[in-house]
């Protein structure tokens, strides 16, 4: 069967799994809601644009014409109003954010493992997670008293202020990209970025940022608890605006990575052979690194450092669908979404809520040991 056909078939199955996991997750919680009611609430919440009206030329930062879009909800199933509030207002943004973050981390992990030809690689390897953590911790310790209005696509204008969680996310996002760019710049000489140097530069930057984070924690005082919670990864308090930003960033980057799936396969032969087979190696590496760093940054900016998703999900799927990235990349990403939604459901349904990073690590580490013992990892 053709690789892309096979990819579509697997992806369809895993997308269906993801939807099912999300529906079940939305049914679970302090208030148990039947899955059928969840579906009805979700369907009711769907809106379609029914008319567009251009108002005056806007005066906003982008000087776009003001657009008023009228929406109508085509469905009106009878749903308990409290249930609707819980599903649409509380659980759904959290579940969608978990799905998107899991999707992003697993996609980036898959690319990094292929890129580094190293099964131990994960999205944090180029310093993205450390950078995000440094940015977030710095924001928590030294709250910046600025308020900026950001014109974001889809969401519209977002006010960024001290009290706003968006500021935290913004700092994390910028920190993640700064660290990744730093690692890249350190490892690049005369236009070439050897993978081994990149790996070592990543370790060096991670170690250094680890020291910074530790120092900031010492200075943190009362906000230490918040830092620890962020560092362990969390999805509580997810808002629709978080979902919207992530949804705007993750899918396009994923499609870009998918477009390079075959190049990634050929890169696995080694850079010199890839060049011989017509791959513009350095440019392809820059694109893969840049897109992976961005997609990871988008994930960790809202959810904190969530380990193991980007490491074990690609491994699991490689066992099932094989090493061809045209199949592996979309399936691993979809499975990553399901995995993180399931893990977060476990994290929030105990008597006290756990950071989701604890759950992924607690499930992920034993699975990784299983892989080690069962040949797969040393053969890779």
């Amino acid at each position: 069967m053709h690789a892309w056909t096979r990819s579509m078939a697997w992806s369809a199955a895993l997308a269906a799994t993801l939807v099912a996991v999300m529906v079940v997750s939305a049914a679970i919680g302090p208030v148990t809601i039947p899955p059928t009611e969840v579906l009805k609430a979700v369907v009711n919440a769907l809106v379609v644009p029914v008319g567009v009206e251009f108002t005056s030329l806007g005066g906003g930062p982008l000087l776009l014409p003001g657009v008023d879009v009228a929406y109508r909800s085509p469905f009106a199933f009878p749903v308990d109003d409290v249930h609707r509030q819980i599903v649409v207002g509380v659980r759904l943004p959290r579940i969608l954010l978990a799905a998107l973050v899991g999707f992003a981390l697993a996609a980036a992990g898959t690319v990094m493992q292929g890129f580094f030809r190293n099964p131990m690689a994960d999205p944090s390897i180029i310093g993205v997670s450390s950078g995000a953590a440094t940015g977030a911790v710095a924001f928590i310790v030294f709250p910046v008293a600025v308020s900026v209005t950001l014109p974001l696509p889809i969401v519209g204008a977002v006010d960024v202020g001290v009290s706003d969680g968006t500021g935290l996310s913004l700092f994390a996002f910028v920190g993640a990209l700064a660290a990744a760019f730093g690692v890249y710049a350190i490892a690049t000489t005369r236009g070439r970025t050897p993978v081994a140097t990149l790996l070592l530069a990543g370790v060096a930057v991670q170690t250094f940022l680890g020291a910074v984070i530790s120092y900031l924690q010492l200075q943190a005082g009362e906000s230490l608890r918040r830092i620890v919670a962020w560092l362990m990864g969390h999805l509580s308090g997810a808002a629709w605006s978080d979902v919207a930003v992530t949804a705007a960033v993750v899918p396009p980057l994923f499609l870009l990575l998918l477009a390079y799936a075959r190049d990634l396969n050929v890169l696995l032969l080694g850079e010199e052979e890839a060049r011989g087979l017509g791959i513009a190696v350095e440019r392809t590496k820059r694109i893969l690194l840049g897109a992976s760093a961005l997609i990871t940054a988008a994930g960790v900016a809202f959810a904190g450092v969530i380990g193991f998703v980007g490491l074990i999900v690609p491994h699991m799927l490689r066992l099932v669908v094989g090493p061809d990235h045209r199949v592996l990349l979309p399936t691993a990403a979809l499975a990553g979404g399901s995995f993180l939604v399931a893990a977060d459901t476990v994290a929030r349904s105990g008597s006290t809520e756990l950071p989701v990073g604890i759950v992924t690590a607690a499930v992920g580490a034993p699975f990784f040991v299983y892989l080690l013992v069962n040949r797969e990892v040393h053969e890779l």
Binding site: H2, A3, W4, G114, R117, N118, P119, A259, R262, N265, V266, L268, L269, G270, E272, E273, R275, G276, L277, G278, I279, A280, V281, R318, G322, P323, D324, E379, L380
Partner: protein, 426 residues
Amino acid sequence: MSPGAPEPSDRDAPLVDVEDLAVAFGDVSVVSGVDLRVDRGDLVGLVGPNGAGKTTILRAIKGTITPDAGSVRLDGEAVADLSARQTGRRVASVPQETNLAFDFRVRHVVEMGRTPHLGRFDGHGADDERAVREAMDAAGVSRFSDRPITAVSGGERQRVLLARALAQETPALLLDEPTASLDVNHAVETLELVRDLVDDGRGALAAIHDLDAAARYCDELVVVANGGVHAAGSPEDVLTAETLRAAFDAEAFVGRSPATGEAAVTAFAAVDADDPSGETVQSGTRRIHVVGSGRDAARTIARLAAAGHDLSVGVVPAGDAAAAVAADAGAAVVSAPAFEPVDDETLEAAVALASEADVTVAVGGDAGPNAPVLAAADRVVSVDGDATDEAVLAAVRESGSESGEGDPETEGRGPPIERGVREAIE
């Protein structure tokens, strides 16, 4: 240009044209002043000792390293100006080894050879399927095409890489030790396959260690040694004892394989290392006459020729192994029909050669009709048929040096060397 369309090419330009190429890693020059060209229908062999820079030259041709000087042109266009994709449609290379980290199936690895012909979202078309199938059949990997590449042997893997290069369907092929890990059957099959492709109008440049195979299959050999091209030309012109000594630092005898008629190289371990005087063997070149017949004499002649001595041989029976080797060595040979008495004229010719020689070496005990030849010689060294190479060379060396006479160290080595043969004959 649509993907898969053949590259426009200048039919008159050589497929590969390297001019005055120099590559250095940091301050260390690897090769310099390299000129070579590969035309359509040419199989050019790149030979030379380990570390001479053969792989470096191949890498410069496919554009993975940037030369410090000189130019590489593929089909008339400078490789530096070509994109990776354009290069990938002009040359395909078979690397010495590959390290595949993940277990792709063999078929998938061969399919990767189509990469330079495919657009980003193109699936494999009928043309690609055909190219992959033909490449797998030609390289003999169809049988295990569904096995993971991590689960095939080293030799099989090397053939998979050959199939991948063939699937690229490029006019030029670069092969780096394509037979290094192949068994004798597959090594020959691989070279025959490359030969066939070349005869069909492609061009190939192959780094080959096996000098006999290089001589047998290549149209031209380029000897890379001491940081540059040491010699280039047809195998007969290039594979000589002198070239091999200079390029490989090896003492080699270049004969003809009786099976193929092509050059056959036999290398010997150099013995100058244990020369107590520190003199190299080459500097002690002598004029040597050899008397004897059969395989033992042939071996002695080959070894002395490899050491660079100037040889004459006779009288030997015509068609004897010693006569054939002596002819390959370029020695003056006096031969007489076998199983017949040697006539006086022939014997005189041999006597003349022996009397001119610095040393005459008698191989085997019975001189037979050659007794007058030995009698005419100034110095005679007699060696047994089972004498070691070292002993033969040492005996020749000593007999020429006044001070070396009776060197206890050499005498202590064992019985093969006898002296005073003249007295024994008288």
